[in-house]
Amino acid sequence: MTRTSAPADPHPHAPAAWEELVTAALLGTERRTPPGGTPGREAPVALLDAAAVETVRRRAGLRPARAARRPDPAPEDPRPALPAAAARRLTMLLADRPGTGGGGRRGTAPDLMELLPQWLAAANDRGFAAPPETLPALLDAARGRTDLRPAALAFAGPRAVWLARLNPDWRFALRATPGGGTALPHLEDADRVRQLWQEGLFAERVALLAAIRAREPAAARELLGTTWATERAEDRLMFLDSLRTGLGPRDEPFLEQALADRSRNVRATAAELLSALPESALAARMAVRAGACVAVDHTRDTPTISVEAPHECDASMERDGVVPKAPAGRGERSWWFGQLVEAAPLGTWSGRLGGRTPEEIVALPVADDWQSELHAAWCRAAVRQRDAEWARALLGSPSAPEAGGPGAVSLAERAKLLGRLGAADRADWVAGFIATHGLSEAFQLLGVCAVPWAGPLGRAVVDALNIARDAGSYPWSFSGVMGLAERCLAPSEASRLDGLLAVPDEPEDASPGAGGYWAEAFQRLVTTLRFRATMTDELGMAEGLGMA
């Protein structure tokens, strides 16, 4: 507020009089006689009298200040408001901040913060708008946990970006939003698109290219072509990478030309993209090269695959993206061989190897210890070429004894292969795996299964937990799987767990007190499942649907 006196000021010299009083008070009445002065009062008392009158007068005369420039209004958020119950739930989830409390995984109450990602995904799925007053807490939560950011910022919507511009603590929201918070132009607006593409910041251009690529792949490629020759090498790499979305045969000429790029990284990425197109000329060249190395040897008792790795990496192989220098500890020839097989279209192997199906091919013995090299390369090819049939063949039977141990295919590769199967196949395979091998190796595989877990998979996990409990170990050896189950098990499975909530009689060889801890862990699991069911209901979704 400003200390402006009212227009009809009865004391026109008031500001000056107050200044005099302050000066006299600061120096002391012994050194400076205050103005006015009441007869019969000591100087300091008279000064205080006058100052009291002035103070109350000044305060009573306070008037509002001049308004500063008002902020531009936040953009409209057209999404519908959250249902009241869901808004309350969000408040609860956001109030449960990590940091305080005992930590660990003890107790029967659900871990609310862990449910926030699911809640956000469900709310985003339904397209609800965030209540404005929750935005500061949402932004704070996203600030602390980068994994939450995409979903939290999507839910927080345009007003959060508006808010982040006013508070430096939330600057990350501007970086994370395409174009630093400035809206992308309408993609139909060709002039503005071209202008942004030619004059925009790097992040804005990447966002623009990605947005166009998602809607009209050819238009994005053409836009990129207009400036390709003048882009810097690291920018070319990033732009090329955005062609991964909607990759198709029509991209081939552009990619083929990029194989001659000045930058090695750009060449390698172009080659990788081309090898994911089984019809491309590069894929055909790779098929010829890889085919020359692999053959079925019929001279043995059983048909066996024999491998003859390439003897050199010539200029044309290098041009097609083969990296000539092997990493330390690997033989050059097997290194080249792996790259050729990985880039060769899987569809050509059947013809090359006597019309066999992928299952039959994978089942063939491989001579001279080449099996792991060959199968690993096929795994990479199946992942890159999104080939479900080959992925299925390479995964093999989940109940096979070698599936449990570190065989030719590592757990990480298996998780990637699983990603190429349909959701139902994936769940069935992991369920079969758990039924045979238990939970100790299952964590990574469970991570790639669709949420909520399909019925057979959920039952397999619950059975395995039950077996682990009966084996007498402590539940925290399974805390990873337990935590996943809390988040991923279908809420409708809660009733199946009722029998596990009681504290069982302790077998002789059990760890002391384990039964009680298991009961507690199962109680938390059930509580969390019920909590999730309520949470989903509040968002107006059928139980157990759409929480991927």
Partner: protein, 451 residues
């Protein structure tokens, strides 16, 4: 007294928590898992059994219809009040997903409720028997208050002398003297049984270190302290109401003996301030029919939440009695006629210019007033350099926020709620600026707490 269907919000329940740890713990218990046999009655009782670490579940019961805010009883050993079980139970009830169905309280809950109701009834009958009853000998009470007045007079006289000495030597010297000088004087005022003077003296000690312009602020506060001393020393010559104001500012005890005003009181804001010894809770009420604003104060020992709790956005059908003194808004809650219920009512608002004028007017009744409760309508939170202000949407005037309000997280809730559009804001308006406490979005929407 019907409670069914009208449930509190999670925010309102969480506002009852005595500290952050309880808030967090209660939050976790607000799910159906550990609870069994929970229920609620039309009379405003909520009960349930909560499975803890032991074999026997805890019995938790809450009476939300009590005059002085919810009352709790739980068989757990926690000394927190309310404990996490009571909070969890209320959250479950507030969630309204059928986990706390209406019903008849079980024996153990019924017993506790009946006991409470009986004691309250006895207290009411005893109160009605006559205000003088039980307060001892009136003659002795008069002598006690005379003795206290003499000590306050001695204290005020001494303080006048110290202020005069200070002004004679100059305020510049106060900068070097530091806190010690003021602490000692404040202790003298405590001895003189004038806690209001003691608190003001202690605040003087902080001013020289408060940054640019401190001599002006120090002179202002010294002058107002001098004014209070003078008011006390000449209280016989003051109008009665102003004399009461002086007594209240000096810190003499008073009782809320104003006529009871029955109204539908809307809870506008509740916030705590704490020093090393005491937690003070302020609750602002707005009388929706009388258009009056009243302040309820409640105290707790350091680290404990004061007992009276009224969540923002509820309306109480209750009688409120004012404390004496001109321009004094403090009141006490007397009889409550029904359990508090949530309400969409909002207080009417004024412009920034009117708000400033109201503060000026209020100084006529109480020149020591630092701020006045005001609702601003149609204002936009606006950044102003490093600071913020609430700007009228339609004129070019604005009230700056107080430095304390700028540092609170509530500022960002207010800014987010507004999104650059006009909102309605309740807060305290005074010579330091405006402190927002509660806000309502344009159109419809629940009150959002900012403190």
């Amino acid at each position: 007294m019907t409670q069914q269907g009208v449930r509190w919000s999670a925010d309102q329940v969480l506002a009852l928590a005595p500290d952050t740890a309880s808030r967090k713990a209660g939050n976790k218990l607000g799910a159906a898992g550990p609870w069994s046999e929970a229920g609620s009655s039309d009379e405003g009782t909520v009960w349930g059994l909560c499975k803890g670490s032991g074999s026997k579940p805890y019995q938790t019961v809450v009476d939300i219809a009590d005059v002085s805010g919810p009352a709790y009883k739980c068989s757990c050993p926690s000394r927190k009040f309310p404990c996490k079980h009571a909070l969890g139970l209320l959250l479950l009830w507030a969630g309204g997903d059928g986990a706390v169905p209406p019903g008849q309280p079980p024996g153990w809950a019924e017993e506790w409720i009946a006991g409470r109701r009986k004691r309250a009834e006895e207290k009411r009958t005893a109160g009605a028997a006559g205000p003088g009853a039980g307060s001892g000998d009136p003659e002795a009470a008069r002598r006690r208050s005379e003795r206290r007045a003499e000590r306050v007079t001695a204290g005020a006289t001494e303080l006048e002398q110290r202020l005069a000495d200070l002004l004679r030597g100059g305020l510049a010297g106060a900068e070097q003297a530091g806190y010690g000088l003021w602490e000692e004087t404040a202790a003298r005022m405590v001895d003189a049984q004038a806690p209001g003077l003691a608190a003001r003296v202690r605040e003087l000690g902080a001013i020289p270190a408060s940054g640019a312009g401190w001599p002006v602020r120090l002179l202002e506060e010294c002058a107002l302290l001098h004014l209070l001393d003078q008011g006390w020393l000449r209280r016989e010559r003051l109008p009665d109401a102003l004399a009461d104001t002086v007594r209240s500012r000096i810190g003499l005890p008073a009782s809320a003996d104003g006529p009871p005003v029955r109204d539908r009181w809307l809870v506008l804001a509740q916030y705590d301030t704490a020093d090393t010894k005491l937690t003070t809770r302020r609750i602002w009420l707005y009388g929706t029919e009388s258009d009056r604003t009243a302040l309820l104060l409640s105290y707790g020992a350091a680290g404990r939440a004061p007992e009276l709790t009224l969540p923002v956005g509820l309306v109480l059908d209750a009688e409120v009695s004012a404390y004496p003194g001109a321009g004094q808004l403090r009141a006490s809650l007397a009889e409550q006629f029904a359990a508090p219920t949530p309400s969409p009512i909002r207080p009417p608002g004024v412009t920034t210019t009117e708000a400033a004028a109201r503060y000026g007017d209020a100084l006529r009744l109480d020149p020591w007033l630092d701020s006045l409760p005001v609702t601003l309508d149609h204002v936009v939170p606006t950044p102003d350099g490093d600071s913020w202000q609430l700007a009228d949407a339609d004129t070019d005037t604005a009230l700056p926020l107080t430095p304390a309000a700028r540092a609170r997280p509530g500022l960002w809730r207010l800014v987010a709620l507004s999104g650059g559009a006009p909102v309605r804001v309740f807060g305290e308006c005074g010579h330091h600026g405006f402190t927002p406490l509660t806000a309502w979005p344009a159109g419809t929407g629940e009150a959002v707490q900012l403190c």
